[in-house]
């Protein structure tokens, strides 16, 4: 009997960790606007500095030092923004769907903030991918636009982003708007595998993927390394801009709470 009581008093550390994780306090903390506001203040400078450094190195390397493509000449240098922007446009949409799911299932307010604030950045990235692709198409394909499967599905992605943004602005009740945007984001995610596999399913004009996680790149090192750096730079850029936008939105939504009032006062006194 005594031994049994002793074993209850001294629990297994692994079990303790599990019960800590299973009572979900860390997850609820993540949903607390105040906690997010404080932790993002520390993340933001690191993300911003990494974004600037990676983008400068990646783009300058790609523009000036990478060798020209043997078929496309120097127009291929456009991929150092086209590919990262297209990657990001799709990743952000997947993020919207994940945030939408979290918002619907756990009613986490921060998930809706993330969804609403990421959508415009995603739309801008889709615009960059489409515009740079069109400009690259002129010297390479001889036309700015064709109704190729990859191009069309990317255009649909842009309209999905517009839909999420418009829906969020049109519905004044915040909870209804969050629900509607989450559903649209989740339903629209079927477009992502269509974009991904469009170049394999329909053998049209757009070339197949430049990068693959499983295979060694077909390009020489001096070509793919700047591309990788530029991709990382775009992701850091997205992280930094998303945090900036989310921090403002959190402050807006929490404007009545005492911590937000104190923060606004402190910022105003600092001279903005």
């Amino acid at each position: 009997m005594a031994a049994r009581i002793l074993s209850v008093r001294a629990p297994d550390p692994a079990l303790a960790l599990m019960s800590n994780l299973m009572n979900w306090t860390w997850f609820h903390k993540l949903g607390s606007p105040k906690w997010f506001y404080e932790i993002s203040r520390r993340w933001l400078p690191w993300l911003a500095v990494s974004a600037v450094l990676l983008l400068v190195v990646g783009l300058v390397w790609g523009l000036a030092f990478a060798p020209p493509d043997y078929q496309q000449g120097n127009s291929f240098r456009i991929i150092y923004i086209h590919v990262p922007a297209a990657f990001l446009a799709q990743s952000i949409y997947i993020m919207l769907a994940i945030a939408g799911t979290v918002g619907l299932v756990w009613k986490m307010k921060l998930a809706d903030v993330a969804l609403q604030q990421a959508a415009p950045i995603g739309a801008w990235m889709t615009v960059i991918a489409l515009v740079t692709g069109a400009i690259w198409g002129k010297p390479t394909w001889g036309t700015y636009w064709v109704w190729d499967a990859r191009l069309t599905s990317m255009l649909i992605l842009l309209f999905l982003y517009f839909g999420v943004i418009a829906l969020g602005n049109a519905i004044t009740n915040r909870d209804s708007a969050a629900k509607a945007c989450a559903v649209l984001a989740i339903v629209g995610v079927v477009n992502i595998p269509i974009i991904q596999y469009s170049v394999e399913w329909w053998n049209t004009l757009h070339q197949p993927a430049t990068f693959s996680i499983v295979a060694k790149p077909a390009m020489p090192f001096e070509m793919w390394m700047p591309l990788l750096i530029s991709v990382l730079g775009f992701y850091c850029f997205f992280g930094a801009v998303l945090l900036m936008r989310m921090r403002l939105e959190v402050l807006r939504r929490e404007v009545r709470s005492s911590w937000a009032k104190a923060e606004i006062k402190a910022q105003v006194e600092k001279g903005l």
């Binding site: 000036a64 120097n74 127009s75 456009i78 801008w124 740079t132 801009v241 900036m244 105003v268």
Partner: protein, 58 residues
Amino acid sequence: MSFASFSEFLAMGTHGPFVWTCYAISLAVLALNVALPIVARRRFLQDEARRMRREELK
């Protein structure tokens, strides 16, 4: 360096206009994405400061 001179770098073979238009548009869009939240934040703080002052006067 993949180019022999700066003018060659600007010319990009025959693709200069295409490459530079792409980079100009894209960098402008990136800059806009940074500038918009900064301006919005400043405006929000100014509005809130004004509102707080008004409430203190009451």
